[in-house]
Amino acid sequence: MAGAAPTPPGDMMQMHAKDVAPKADPAEAAPLLALDGIVKTFPGVRALSEVELRLYPGQVTALVGENGAGKSTIVKILTGIYQPDAGEIRLDGRPVHFPTAQDATRAGITAIHQETVLFDELSVAENIFVGHAPRTRMGLIDWPEIRRRAREILDGIGARIDPDVKLRELGIASKHLVAIARALSVDARVVIMDEPTAALSQKEIEELYELVETLKAQGKAILFISHKFDEIFRIADRYTVFRDGQFVGGGPISEVDHDGLVRMMVGRSVDAIFPARTSAPGDEVLSVEGFCHPTEFDGISFTLRRGEILGFYGLVGAGRSEFMQALFGITKASAGTIRIGGMEIRIASPADAVRNGIVYVPEDRGKQGAITALPIFQNVTLPSLARTSRKGFLRLAEEFSLARRYTERLDLRAASLDTEVGMLSGGNQQKVVVAKWLATKPRVIILDEPTKGIDIGSKAAVHEFMAELAAEGLAVIMVSSEIPEILGMSDRVIVMREGRMVAELEGDDLSPETLVRHAAGIAEGDTHA
């Protein structure tokens, strides 16, 4: 599985004797970028206290830490968005300052963010060069040059994308490549990748890894921020760990193992990542038969029982979320029947779904989850207002007690239930969304990528909670693109590919290989996985 990197990082790191290979040993080379004693305080919070970070040319340094460890802050300092209160940044050994984002770009530091900001209505080439388009002698934009260089950069990263096509016509993975191309168009020497694989499918992730290798070979220093351990160990040469705004440790990745890294991150070792579950599914709650959609999915049939966790696995774009949205009444299915507890029901709108006990915690919780301008209690009671009102008037006391019951259960920490949801951290906002749905007393809960983009500690808490819900008799549908999560949590797994159910796996049939094979459509025996 391990990609044939040009220079196996492990071997390289072992060479500590300077005189053996004075030039070829990058570990001994001077760091391209070095940060020392960086302090950044916000009113009331010390986000970073005297942290250090070193980036070496031609190497990938993984920055790991839980949410709130200070990773985003250091990225913002590196890219000139924040100014450190104290500390030194040295580029090629010389102290530098980045008063603005443009100064950082000019110094060759570029970041590819989690949610890349691109322009849908512009062409790929325009997106790559917007803001720094090459000019003709007249000072006008040099279109032939833009196209030529865009082509060159895209070819350089092995992306087969037409520079003239509008961005809106591309899929998410291709958009990502455009973002990378844009980052490279400024002659970057330092490339920061902030959770670059979060939105990608397994196949696209593999392509990204290849791209990272290409960038390494070009001598670029890469800072790679990720929550996924397998990919850290797969592509990083070095690691740096932050915890609570402090530098905890760093060094060659070969000198640390999985457990060691987790221990550094959380200050304790996490033994069992997934909660032990004794699965004893009860009566059938939900049955779906022949569910079809004109363009997104076709012929989905399955049953779900009380206390069961049913995993939905597939590559991004396999139609899982689209199916869930139809099941929840956001889009219309063209055919198919749904039964709840044996009774056939019709779901024409999300309100119908909620009334029948089906709730959906969407993937994009920022956009689709909470209403940030409303206080916590109003968010929680929003779908349950019929229950908290009498004679058409809402009763605030009732609302508060309902909200308190469910937020306490989720261990939501907030000053008051009157706090606007927008003031809460991402993890707490998610708890508000889940509390909102649990307050409707659902029979089936659909969780779409429940742990996407959250740190390892919170992940375990989510898994724990999911197991609890199932144990209480709730039927859970979990859409996930993370194989360990699917394997660790599900009683049964449905694999989707290109809008169709391609497999229903259970027990011994469940293995990473079978999942990947079905999801990617690779025939049995074909080892090119």
């Binding site: 916000f42 009113p43 009331g44 919070v45 986000a47 839980e66 949410n67 709130g68 460890a69 200070g70 985003s72 802050t73 609570d244 705004g245 929840f328 956001i330 709108s349 999300p350 309100a351 779904a353 909620v354 959906y360 969407p362 994009d364 956009k367 689709q368 989850g369 909470a370 209403i371 940030t372 301008a373 409303l374 109003q378 929003l382 779908p383 207002l385 019929a386 009102s389 058409g392 008037f393 809402l394 605030l396 927008g422 003031m423 809460l424 951290s425 991402g426 993890g427 909102k436 500690g457």
Partner: protein, 327 residues
């Protein structure tokens, strides 16, 4: 809680209005006399009523530019009806103007809900249509004071416990709207739908339906104001309240109702309207040309928007701070 109250936009507006009153009364002490303040309030009543309806529409991320035309059309219809049937009880006239206004609001709402046309386009269109209908039914003629029945004209001016009925109606609308926004599921839905339409859909709320009801309420209030306006000024013609819709939107913006939706309050709309009302009434007193009023209102809007933008920005910083706080 106290701190939040002190820093709220409503408190800021109350302070601004207070400063304005103090400034004016240093030169013209009679301006701040209770009887004159009651006059200002009464004079601003139509603006307040319309601003409350507009606030609900803006909360749901829409805008209703047809309110002034709706007011004029309803006013013309009830005025002509009064000419034809002078004996019609005022209660019937009131009910009719509410209903007529609501129907026009529903037309806006349906176009936005069912045909998915942007609200600004819909209401720009219906605004012109309503004005056109006035011309068609009236033939461009005025309905003058001497044609209207005495009872028809007297109602909004009738004195009730020291205040004219017009003021009492505004107070009733404020109270009802306050209760509605705070204590009904639909009022709550307006906030949710405008605050995050996507999330509202996922919560089982029907965004279009909520917007439809906001337009209906705004239309009903415009219709109600139509009768009160025509009766108070004792005249109805095609162009009454021309351009008044912009003043209504201005009152909302000054009152801190976010044009982006989801943020606003009844108190804000009322105070925004009062702020404009005080300026409008003070200018002639301090001997400034009423033409300055437009410039002053415009400046007030710009300041309000700037304050709005600033307050959302500082809120953003708080989120960041929390997010990066070690858990």
């Amino acid at each position: 809680m106290l701190k939040r109250l002190a820093s709220s936009r409503e408190a800021l507006l109350v302070a601004a209005i207070g400063v304005l009153l103090v400034l004016i009364s240093t030169r013209f002490p009679t301006f701040a006399a209770p009887s004159n303040l009651a006059n200002v309030f009464n004079d601003t009543a139509p603006l307040m009523i319309l601003a409350i309806g507009q606030m609900m529409v803006i909360l749901t991320r829409c805008i209703d530019l047809s309110v002034a035309a709706n007011l004029a059309l309803t006013g013309m219809v009830v005025a002509m009806l009064n000419v034809a049937m002078p004996g019609l009880p005022i209660a019937v006239t009131l009910g009719l103007s509410l209903a007529l206004g609501a129907v026009m609001g529903m037309a806006n709402g349906l176009l936005v809900w069912k045909l998915d046309i942007p609200p600004i386009v819909v209401t720009l269109g219906t605004m012109t249509i309503f004005r056109g209908i006035i011309f068609v039914i009236s033939g461009g003629d005025w309905v003058n004071s001497h044609e209207m029945s005495a009872a028809f004209k007297a109602f909004p001016r009738a004195d009730l416990a020291g205040l004219p009925v017009l003021s009492w109606i505004a107070i009733a609308v404020i109270a009802a709207a306050g209760l509605f926004m705070a204590r009904t599921a639909l009022g709550r839905a307006f906030f949710a739908v405008g605050g995050n339409p996507n999330a509202a859909v996922y919560t089982g709320l029907d965004v279009g339906r909520s917007q439809f009801w906001a337009f209906t309420i705004s239309g009903a209030l415009a219709g109600l104001t139509g009768y009160l306006w025509v009766a108070r000024y004792a005249v109805a013609y095609v162009d009454i309240a021309g351009g008044f819709e912009l003043e209504v939107v201005a009152a909302c913006v000054i009152g801190g109702i976010s044009i982006a939706g989801g943020i606003g309050s009844v108190g804000g709309a009322v105070l925004g309207a009062l702020f404009l009302g005080v300026i409008k009434n003070a200018l002639p007193v301090v001997n400034i040309s009423p033409f300055w009023q437009l410039a002053i209102s415009g400046t007030a809007i710009l300041i309000a928007v700037a304050v709005n933008a600033r307050s959302t920005r500082s809120k953003g910083r708080i989120i960041l701070k929390r997010a990066e706080q070690p858990a």
